[in-house]
Amino acid sequence: MFPVLLLLLSTAFTCQASSQKVLVLLDDFKTRSTHSLYFNDLISRGYEISFKSASDKKLQLKDWDEWLYDKIVLFAPTATGLGANSDHTTLLEFIDAGKDVLVAVDSSASELMRSLAADIGFDLDARGASVTDHVDYVKFAMADHTLIASEEFMQSSAILGNFTDSAPILFKGAAATMSPESTLGISILGAPETAFSHLPGKPVTDNPLVANGYASLVAAIQARSGARIVLAGSVDMFSNAYFTTAGFETASGKRFDKAGNRAFCDEVTKWAFHERGVLRVTNVHHSHAGEQEQPDWYRVSDDLEFGLDIFELVGGVWQPFKADDVQVEFVMLDPYIRTKLQHNEQGHFYTAFKVPDVYGVYKFVINYHRAGYTPLELAKTVSVRPFRHNEFERFLVAAYPYYMSVFSTMAAFFVFGFAFLYHK
């Protein structure tokens, strides 16, 4: 019985993993062939892809309360509406429901795309403006220097996996800026130092939207609903043409054998579609030192143990997470204790500490935010109560004279009674 159940479970799991439905929304079905390499990569990783036109009036994301797709790839920079809707609220709902979206635009991005970007905390530069680099452009036939090659990708194995390819990424499109107040945004690919964003062919009259350092070519957020959204400023970077570029030269004279686009785009998509950088916490546990049972409360100055298991999804399998920087805080208004968790290489993280000498309702707080990883935010409440009246130390040595005096006085009381009553 049991193995059968397990088998069922595992097949259910693999089925679910393999048959993720991806909706690809396009402006133009030509893209399907110009980007076929990318889509084939997706299919080879087990996704079930359906192509739709963004302006298809019959487009439906949701059937009553049930989402029809698990992921959306939005390669429709000029779309003015999604299906019958003229705005992107359904798409936001999709995100808020925790589902992933990959959006690619270009310098002709429509108002719809701009407001979508704004709603996830990014600001696309004005319509028509594209990233230009007069110093280090890629030498192709184009005269306006808008095809650039960037190596400013983020150093994060959580997002890019083992993308160590030193080949730069070809890019042609719009840049986005991230608000300094945004707490969720990450910039996966920045622009080279000499690049800036401007309307091509127009004279630059004042400071353009400076690209490097501020602008992102590929940006992403992890929404608090769990959804991951990637905003790429270029549809072209996913295209077969860029994937297969054999070799090119930049204006500064550097030569490269190939472009890194294919590996980069695949890795970014893996991250965006929750194939990588996913953490899972189980078995959060606290107890008195040396015990197993989890109590509802502790007494001040008790010794306690705290532990939890963290696993990481690697290639579809949960494996122990290894990191030395996971912290736990013991918080009542302010953190009273903040300590690093040790781990045993098996995914079990643990620590032991002494409860502070202040009573109150405390929380064990784990706040683990690392770029690319699922943020771990969990809090567990436990009360810490003061000593009971009979838990204080009794019969102190320092107090013996007082005890003596009380006894002597009581003795005197009895002696006095005799003396008083029998002495007439």
Binding site: R394, L396, A398, A399, P401, Y402, Y403, S405, V406, S408, T409, M410, A412, F413, F416, G417, A419, F420, L421, H423, K424
Partner: protein
Amino acid sequence: MDSVTNRIHDFKSNASIIVKSFNSEYKKTPLRIKVIDAFIVYALLTAAIQFLYMLCVGTFPFNSFLSGFFCSLGFFVLSVSLRMQVDPSSTEFKGLLPERAYADFVFCGCLLFLVVWNFMG
């Protein structure tokens, strides 16, 4: 200088007169009262010793100190009350039997020790 020594001399003689006359007068008090007085002095002494001890050691087991100190003080107060009640020279308590007074005293004493015990630990 002279006046100071004079003063001190005066003081001494006065004091000796006082002590002497006090002694002579005190001999007239009945023995029973004297017994009570002895206990009063005893209680005062223990209270004073505890206070000194507290000054030396510090106030840490403060509840123990309080109970010990107040125990002595309470015993002192009760004894003084009893003394006043049974003192034959006093006119206030004419109708009061010494036994009745003593019963009251015992009752108060028990109460006192009860409270002290409760508080000491």
